[in-house]
């Protein structure tokens, strides 16, 4: 287009604003579209999916169309925030409000016109992302682009006029079948569709989370008790703050309408519990028993916090010596990790990540166990240790090269540790028994315990 303008042409620079909506002009156009619909419109108006490089790769409008240019305000905020983590979730623009979440390198930006509880939108957007995850195995840009029709159908079902309609995965799966390789092959041959042509009966029963007519040849119910230790350990090795957060994730494949009740040996450990909607609150209040008709498939049954009065056993300790010399371009780094109070279980999957100060140029280290990497761009040191054996403690030490001339870093970096302990719930929580009512068959039952590091940080 530019080319067509001859050299002698004095037309006012063939405005690129036609091609790319520039900020100033776009805001105006945005106001113009607004003028038409001044009435109050609640909840989610539009949704834009934006990737890290700032491309809007999907848009969906539940009401009148909002121009993409509204996202410019978002980009502005994004620039200001420097890193993605700091983009404010709520942005106010002259005519709209943008509420966004950041998940798996995608920004979900929703456009709101009027007052709405922000958590409502945020929670919903996360639910959308969860659903994509559930359907496509990952919530990535490519997955969404590849399945754009299913994505659209899902969004259509999940929101009506901006208000959530069906968000339970069991129901959605009945309305819209998730893609599988086999099915897409079959579909392309037979021309049949992904859309269910039977009714989602669950919408109408009192248990909206379970689909009807479930049948399995092997009836199984598995529960994973996963506990994470959140802790801040200070320089001297004493615990500043520690807490256990647990979840019970379930995989239930039971035919019919089973009514389960799960009881614990020591339910009083659980201080603060949040439930999947299927759980009968009253039973828990009175008997401390989890009684529920489960959804079909994978779901999170409860998440809980173990009361903070109980002392949390910290399963690892870290000895560290990190120092930067004054007026020299090097420093020393020496870290040892050892097991502690592990109740006879091995600590495995140990990974240490350290965000080194900006002044660090490079690191020359030797690890007695596992391997380490240092990314000189992001300044992140990662040490994949693996299993800890008490006989030979893993150690990482060596020299840190600093930018010459730069002042010595003020603070030593804190160490983030990840680990895993199989077959142990660190809080001591134990499942007592699982009973099933309502169905005649005998299900196969299993419980697995695992302890992990949550936000586990050692200050140095």
């Amino acid at each position: 287009m530019l080319m067509r303008c001859g050299p002698g042409c004095h037309c006012p620079s063939p405005s690129p604003s036609n091609l790319i909506p520039k900020r100033v002009t776009s805001k105006e156009s945005c106001q113009a579209t607004d003028g038409k619909h001044r009435q109050s419109q609640k909840m989610i108006h539009s949704l834009f999916l934006i990737n890290c490089s700032g491309d809007i790769f999907l848009e969906k409008h539940w009401k009148s169309v909002v121009s993409q240019s509204v996202c410019d305000y978002f980009f502005e905020a994004q620039e200001k925030a420097i890193d993605v983590e700091n983009v404010p979730p709520v942005i106010s623009t002259p005519h709209h409000y943008l509420i966004s979440i950041y998940r798996d390198k995608i920004f979900f930006v929703s456009v709101i016109q009027t007052e709405v509880p922000p958590l409502f939108v945020i929670e919903f957007l996360h639910r959308v992302a969860d659903t994509f995850q559930d359907y496509f195995g990952e919530c990535s840009e490519t997955a969404i682009k590849d399945n754009v029709v299913i994505v659209y159908e899902l969004l259509e079902e999940m929101l009506d006029n901006g208000f959530p309609l069906a968000t339970e995965s069991n129901i959605l799966k009945e309305l819209i079948k998730p893609p599988t390789i086999l099915r897409s092959v079959v579909n392309s041959i037979t021309g049949s569709s992904n859309v269910g042509d039977t009714l989602p009966t669950g919408q109408l029963s009192n248990i909206p989370w379970r689909r009807a007519g479930v049948k399995y040849t092997n009836n199984e119910a598995y529960f994973d008790v996963i506990e994470e230790i959140d802790a801040i350990i200070d320089k001297s090795g004493s615990t500043v703050f520690a807490e256990i957060q647990g979840v019970i994730d379930s995989c239930i494949k039971l035919s019919g309408m089973p009514d389960l009740s799960l009881s614990f040996m020591n339910p009083r450990l659980l201080d603060d519990v949040s439930f999947h909607p299927c759980i009968r609150f009253k039973r828990w209040e009175s008997e401390r028993v989890l009684s529920f008709i489960p959804p079909d498939g994978n779901f999170r049954l409860i998440s809980y916090r173990v009361s903070s009065q109980n002392l949390v056993a910290i399963p690892v300790y870290v000895k560290h010596m990190i120092s930067f010399k004054e007026n020299s371009s090097s420093g020393r780094f020496d870290v040892t990790i050892g097991p502690k109070q592990n109740m006879g279980k091995t600590v495995e999957g140990v990974v240490m990540t350290v965000h080194m100060p900006k002044a660090v140029l490079n690191m020359n280290l030797t690890a007695t166990q596992g391997s380490y990497t240092f990314d000189p761009v992001t300044k992140v040191l990662t040490w994949d240790v693996g299993k800890i054996t008490p006989q030979k403690l893993p150690n990482l030490k060596g020299i840190v090269n600093l930018q010459s001339g730069a002042p010595k870093p003020e603070e030593n970096p804190s160490l983030n540790i990840q680990f895993k302990i199989q077959q142990l719930a660190i809080s001591g929580l134990k499942v007592n028994r699982l009973d099933m009512y309502g169905e005649k068959y005998k299900p196969f039952k299993g419980v697995k315990y695992i302890t992990k590091a949550g936000k586990f940080q050692v200050r140095t």
């Binding site: 109050s40 983590e85 106010s92 208000f163 968000t167 603060d272 970096p413």
Partner: protein
């Protein structure tokens, strides 16, 4: 632009077709970067058109999928409209769906063509498949074409009475869409909303409230009748609906109830009364805390109770909604329960954390105590995003107090060193705020900040300077040293704000540093031209102040600075220079002001207040967008202030109830009610109701409903009828239970009817009434609602005076009939007896204990008066120790026998236990643990006390069946962490229930209980005990006996029956001469008799 277009034409002919395309799309801005692709798009579009017109579904489907792909990317596909719209009638569901998607996107732009599809939808609205009906309505209402408004209106109206709740839900959504399309339909839509609000389906509730909020949020009157239903449904509504309903109810409650925040012991008596009547022990306990200080409207309480379980929701929005509800509605003492759940949300995503932390920040300013126990949960991790860090810091600062400041400051020390300099700077401000708020640590903080002045990072130093400046200003007395130190720093600091701050400080306190100040001015005068504006202003300021205090040394310097300022580029500085010169330099033109120059410049400046940025946010409702943005968002609905006087709570009584009430009013003209009737009849129905729900295996919190009703009863003029509406909220069994209930009500009223009316009419009534209520509850057809409203007015007029004073009214009714209330009462009951028997007997099984007792009294009254259980004559105040605070680790417990008849069912002796927390910590979860009971003995446990504040005490009721023995009941009293063995031993006098009987009956019964069944003793009576009043008082105090009216002055008779077996216990005290008395006890239970005798002896003989 026109020139631009012209030039195209000239340039090349081949551009023409492209131009044409450029003109075609109407939404050009939404197609960025697509310009170059247009040519290829056209080709694609051509083949898409062909595919859409092909006969094969698969080709059509492919085409539609590609089109949807285009829409998703924001490309324009509007020109395919004619081709696509043809497929709207496709048999293939998926094609249809995708066409719907397309229509919703483009119908507004191509209105004429869109009309082609309307008939298809109209047909689909009649489809037998509810899903198709729903989706047709959904699409029809999403097509924003004004011309079809009437069609939409019709469709919505029809769908709102669809059988399928799913369709009705969609109708509720459609209301909002239509409203935004054409606000003039408002009135009609409100009618639909009103109708849908009555819907009992949990599926519909959330959506219709959403519609209400959007269309007519000010029509609060529509909610009244549905309030209790919404509260009771809330737990079962889907999570999104819960959020909307909770927010709406918060607004509602603020207009309808009085503030629970006016604390302090106003209305203690109220509580006592309630305590007496209420038969449900659990509920009483829950309420006790509240009622001690203030009486809460039962509906208010209902809301709080029914939302509480939702704190456990997995959905952060629901938890936040409940939290804000408690914040805005609950008594201050109860709001604390939300903090734990809010803290839990902090484990969630970054975005959730952000919002929750903001709300916590606002809360923590007003009520520190709420979050203090969770202080450590707000500790910052180096991996948190900066915005989260700052919010956490904010909260930590808000929570700081004398007790935790040292730990906090230690924590802050770590933060100050953070690599995130923005955060480090925020920490310094936080330290500053702590320093001003907590005087104990001001000096420590100040010293710490001074140390930071030698920090290498400039932002840290600058921030410290600014904060120190503010701190010094609050207490400038003895900080000459610090000022000197800062003056030295001036050479190294480059950040303008910090430099300006230092200069201001030196100027302000130049008299404290007389030697340094002029020197500083000299230095800065040198660098004046290179300084930032902010600094220049302060240099001028400093000059002026020095000129006034120390003009000898600085006169010339100041003149110089002023001259520099006069020619500065910034008009602000030139302005200031002129102003200052006129003020301080005396010349002939200078006005009157220059005399006051010193006063003007060296006035005492008030110290700045270091405040939280969240200080004023609480005028926005928590959890809202406006709160997050700290500015009014469009459509924000203000939370009103509490009314001074609560509007009439009777508006929330429900219509079905009214009709039933009316019915009793008309038919029971001569009806006489006992004062306590409403409570009893109520509980009967509860039993009824719970039985029916139990049968249908629905877990919908029937328990809570029960309690609610009971609470509500005190306000409702006729409890019996009101509950029938509320309880029938679960749709599945509503009909059944309504029917049952009404019949229950009939039974009840039968009992009160006069004999002649009873049989025939009641039968009629029975059927008619149940059918009445059923129809009105299931469908609000117009004729029905009419009758309902009629009936309401009827009953209102009949109610004579206030609704709550029904007692009085009843009394007058009785008075009208006969003068002596008590006698008539019994007499009438006698009359009724033949009528009641056939009805009452089967119901007895499901009656509440209290009613059983009552009916027992009624039905037996004809055959034997003696078993009539009366209310206790006397309630002993004596308490017994159950658990001493030393053995109980600070938890102490006392019990006394409340002598309330049959609180927990027959055979139980009611015991009130008062638990007191003497520790300085909360004791949680107090309950009864392991029981060691002798054979046959049973305990009705009290409900666990969730939490007992330090110094607090709670009284709970329990029932024990002692099996008519004085054996001890041993059990464990458990707290969350401990358990203590305690036991209760009953005095024999408490194993009795008083009965009334006439003297004649007494003698008759006594005659049958002679010989082995009689024990007697002669006792010496203390002289002061010989009057009849004293004797009665003493005996009744010692044992739960009923007084039998006696014809002789010297003989006193008392009657009772044992709690467990119901055997008679007759006590006679016969005064003899020379202050002796004969004490006779006649009973089958000789063991108890002799024990009682032994216990009564000292009572009378001692003074």
């Amino acid at each position: 632009m026109s020139g631009n277009g012209h030039s195209y034409g000239e340039q090349a002919g081949e551009a023409a077709p492209e131009l044409a395309q450029e003109a075609a799309p109407t939404t050009a801005p939404s197609v960025p970067a697509a310009f170059g692709l247009f040519s290829s798009d056209t080709k694609k579009n051509e083949d898409l058109k062909q595919m859409l017109e092909s006969s094969k579904d698969s080709a059509k489907l492919d085409a539609m999928k590609r089109i949807v792909g285009m829409i998703a990317k924001g490309k324009n596909a509007s020109e395919l409209f004619p081709a696509v719209v043809k497929n709207v009638a496709s048999k293939n569901i998926e094609i249809k769906k995708l066409v719907y998607v397309y229509l919703m996107r483009y119908a507004e732009e191509q209105q004429d063509l869109a009309l082609l599809s309307i008939s298809t939808f109209q047909r689909a609205l009649k489809d037998p498949n509810q899903l198709i009906r729903a989706s047709a309505l959904r699409v029809l209402s999403s097509i924003r074409v004004p011309i079809i408004v009437p069609i939409m209106m019709l469709a919505i109206k029809e769908a709102s009475s669809d059988l399928s709740p799913y369709v009705r839900k969609n109708a509720a959504h459609a209301i909002q869409k239509l409203y935004s399309l054409d606000p003039e339909q408002k009135e009609m839509l409100i009618e639909v909303i009103e109708k849908l609000l009555k819907d009992r389906s949990t599926l519909v509730a959330g959506s219709v409230v959403m519609a209400f909020e959007e269309v007519c949020p000010d029509r609060i009157d529509l909610i009244h009748k549905n309030y209790r239903k919404l509260c009771n449904l809330l737990v079962d509504v889907e999570e999104w609906g819960q959020v909307v309903i909770i927010h709406m109810l918060t607004r509602y409650a603020r207009t309808q109830f009085v503030s629970p925040w006016k604390t302090d012991d106003d209305v203690v008596e109220e509580y006592n009364e309630n305590n007496f009547y209420e038969s449900d022990g659990e509920q009483k306990e829950k309420d006790r805390n509240v009622k001690k200080t203030y009486t809460m409207d039962p509906d208010h309480r209902l809301l709080l109770r029914n939302t509480k379980p939702l704190l456990q929701s997995r959905n952060a929005a629901v938890v936040m909604a409940v939290a804000q509800l408690y914040w805005h509605l609950a008594p201050k003492s109860e709001a604390g329960i939300v903090s734990k759940s809010l803290v839990r949300l902090l484990r969630s995503n970054r975005e959730v954390q952000y919002i929750v932390l903001q709300n916590i920040a606002t809360m923590s300013i007003q009520r520190k105590g709420m979050f203090e126990p969770y202080l450590k949960s707000f500790y910052v991790r180096s991996t948190d995003p900066t915005m989260i860090k700052t919010l956490k810091l904010e909260i930590l600062t808000n929570l700081a107090n004398e007790a935790n400041i040292s730990t906090l400051l230690r924590e802050f020390q770590t933060y100050v060193k953070s690599q995130d300099k923005q955060f480090a700077a925020a920490t310094i401000q936080a330290i500053g705020r702590c320093a001003t708020n907590i005087t104990e640590v001001t000096d420590t903080c100040l010293n710490g900040l001074v140390c930071l002045l030698s920090n290498r990072d400039e932002t840290v130093v600058a921030e410290s300077v600014v904060v120190i400046k503010k701190l010094l200003q609050t207490q400038p007395a003895h900080h000459g040293e610090i000022i000197k130190h800062m003056a030295k720093l001036l050479d190294n600091i480059t950040v303008p704000v910090a430099r300006a701050s230092i200069l201001w400080l030196i100027g302000e306190y130049c008299e404290r540093v007389p030697k340094i100040a002029p020197d500083v001015l000299r230095k800065t005068a040198k660098s004046f031209t290179n300084e930032d504006d902010l600094v220049k202003l302060q240099i001028l300021n400093l000059g002026a102040k020095l000129y006034l205090t120390n003009s000898k040394q600085t006169k010339l310097l100041t003149q110089y600075v002023l001259n520099l300022g006069k020619y500065d580029q910034s008009y602000d500085i030139r302005d200031r220079t002129r102003f200052i010169r006129q003020l301080i330099v005396p010349n002939e033109k200078s006005g009157a002001l220059s005399k006051y120059a010193k006063k003007i410049f060296l006035a005492q400046k008030p110290a700045p207040l270091l405040e939280s940025p969240f200080k004023d946010r609480d005028h926005f409702q928590l959890g809202t967008l406006s709160h997050t943005l700290n500015s009014r968002a469009t459509g924000y609905l203000e939370l009103s202030d509490w009314p001074d006087v609560a509007p009439d709570p009777a508006v929330r009584n429900v219509e079905v109830a009214e009709s039933a009430k009316e019915w009793t009013a008309i038919l029971g003209k001569t009806k006489k009610e006992k004062p306590t009737e409403k409570f009893y009849s109520e509980s009967e129905e509860e039993e009824d109701e719970s039985a029916s729900t139990g049968a249908t295996e629905s877990e919908s919190g029937s328990e809570s409903e029960k309690e609610d009703k009971e609470e509500g009863s005190s306000d409702e003029s006729s409890g019996s009828s009101s509950s029938s509406e509320e309880s029938s909220d679960s749709e599945s069994d509503s009909k059944e239970s309504t029917a049952k209930k009404t019949s229950g009500a009939v039974k009840e009223s039968n009992a009160e009817e006069s004999k002649k009316k009873a049989k025939g009419i009641s039968k009629n009534r029975n059927t008619s009434s149940s059918s009445d209520t059923e129809s009105s509850s299931s469908e609000g057809s117009s004729s029905d609602s009419k009758s309902v409203s009629d009936s309401r007015s009827d009953s209102d007029s009949g109610k004579s005076g206030s609704a709550t004073s029904s007692k009085k009214e009843e009394k007058t009714a009785q008075d009208r009939k006969t003068p002596s209330k008590q006698d008539v009462f019994l007499l009438d009951l006698d009359d009724f007896y033949p009528v009641t028997t056939p009805v009452a007997v089967p119901t007895a099984a499901v009656l509440s204990p209290s009613l059983t007792a009552d009916l027992e009294g009624l039905s037996l009254s004809g055959s034997s008066v003696i078993d009539q259980v009366t209310t206790q004559v006397f309630v002993p105040t004596k308490t017994h120790e159950m658990l001493h605070r030393m053995t109980g680790k600070g938890l102490s417990a006392h019990y006394h026998f409340s002598r309330q008849p049959d609180m927990f069912g027959d055979h139980m002796v009611p015991v009130q236990v008062t638990v007191t927390n003497t520790t300085d910590q909360k004791i949680e979860n107090i309950h009864i643990g392991e029981k060691k009971l002798p054979l046959g003995m049973r305990i009705h446990e009290f409900n666990p006390i969730e939490c007992l504040e330090p110094g607090g005490s709670v009284t709970v009721s329990m029932g024990i069946d002692f099996c008519d023995s004085t054996q001890t009941a041993s059990f464990q009293l458990c707290t969350k962490d401990d358990h203590f063995n305690v036991n209760i031993q009953p005095p024999v006098g408490e194993l009795l229930l008083p009965v009334t009987m006439s003297e004649k009956d007494f003698k008759k019964e006594q005659g049958m209980l002679t010989g082995m069944n009689e024990t007697s003793a002669t006792i010496a009576v203390a002289p002061q005990n010989s009057t009849s009043l004293v004797i009665i008082e003493k005996v009744v105090k010692a044992a739960n006996l009923g007084v039998v009216p006696s014809g002789q002055d010297n003989i006193h008779r008392f009657a009772a029956k044992t709690v467990h077996s119901g055997s008679l216990m007759l006590v006679t005290v016969e005064l003899k001469e020379s202050s002796t008395a004969q004490l006779i006890i006649n009973t089958e239970k000789t063991v108890i008799g002799s024990v009682l005798l032994r216990e009564l002896k000292p009572v009378l003989s001692q003074g």
